[in-house]
Symmetry: C2
Subunit: 227 residues, 2 copies
């Protein structure tokens, strides 16, 4: 059972915040990796709206979650943390140089080529949806989203996983794609991408990670403090 209150490895996550972000906050990426390799961890959770202490900025300089510490190496970016975990476990990152670099270049691609084609839509939909400019801006941003999804479809053709075998690149790429669910029908034109995302989300480790991610919010609500 990776979620273990006595584990030395700790991450930070939310237990309350905007309902729209439940299921999308980036601690999910780390929980998924821990589940894939059965590595025990514990989660320190807090309210997304609550001010953080000044000390928290030492752990996460942008005041976000997750921060990570395993007692040896504090880290604060999911890309870096997944690379760190991958270097310790070949189920997350191949050992052979060709496979390793293929996974690393796709891990960066998920964050630097795909996420920038998704985030402007998400930000417009979640934060600015009531602004008068939201509709035309969203339409303009969608052109880039479609261009990137088209390229991604070609890159995924004939593959189960983006870098050959399952790796940290898939954890990043699949979670980067998840917010597109909030734009109904968008992935209909990209059946290869939709099937890839469903394949990733169908992994038992992903199910367990998502359940624990959501449970943090539910347990907090049940405890009587509204999320």
């Amino acid at each position: 059972m990776p979620l273990d209150p006595a584990a030395e490895t700790v991450i930070t996550a939310f237990h309350a915040g905007p309902p729209a972000v439940q299921g999308l906050v980036r601690d999910l990426r780390l929980r998924w990796a821990f589940e894939e390799i059965g590595r025990p961890y514990r989660a320190e959770t807090f309210d997304a709206f609550a001010p953080r202490s000044a000390e928290y900025l030492q752990r996460q300089p942008f005041n976000q979650v997750p921060a990570f510490d395993d007692g040896h190496q504090p880290l604060f970016e999911t890309g870096a943390i997944l690379l760190y975990l991958g270097e310790q476990d070949e189920r997350l990152l191949p050992r052979d140089p060709g496979g390793r670099w293929q996974a690393i270049t796709w891990a960066f691609a998920a964050l630097s080529s795909v996420e920038p084609a998704v985030s402007p839509l998400v930000v417009t939909n979640m934060i600015h949806r009531d602004k008068p400019w939201a509709d035309p801006a969203r339409e303009a941003f969608l052109q880039h989203t479609h261009r990137v999804l088209g390229h991604l479809s070609e890159a995924l053709a004939g593959k189960d996983w983006i870098a050959g075998t399952f790796s940290i690149a898939d954890i990043l790429l699949a979670t980067v794609l998840r917010p597109l669910d909030r734009t109904p029908g968008l992935l209909d034109g990209y059946p290869v991408v939709a099937a890839y995302k469903a394949r990733a989300e169908g992994r038992p480790a992903f199910h367990r990670a998502l359940a624990d991610h959501l449970a943090a919010f539910q347990q907090h609500e049940t405890a009587g403090e509204p999320a």
Copy 2:
């Protein structure tokens, strides 16, 4: 002289394209790294507007530049390529684990925490500036830019380089900040960030890299084909 027509290491870059991107295209990040370590490379350049061959997508799946190949490992994301170069040269990435991971986590932070606070402004200014929604959208995006620049100021306080010694994290962070020049006055409120950016851009290796990046455009114009 790192730029060497006989070098085995090759990158792709542009020699023509929208004037606004000259000085900002990401091949600059790699040229800078090569200059820091005196590693010979050659640049295959082409027109940003010209259609690429289907084969080019094998080298760069999103049809962008730079792609990289040293005869051993083809790669296509600047973050991954800089990490690859850094693992071969400690002037780009410290060897001790603590220093190495500090640089890696900040390399990811430049791309995943800082660049997303810069890019929506850049995209709005460069691509959508004539749209009626550009001004209010820019104002809204600026809130996030200011939040991130504030956190970055605190993280940079008292440091010459973001991860202690100069590293790939600085190449990424400084180049991510460069487009903010196009929003006059923006960095005036963040003197620590402005001084950091100037310090990075003051390195002789950066000067040589930028000169070669710009020369590709100038030589092509001089050759009679308008950029």
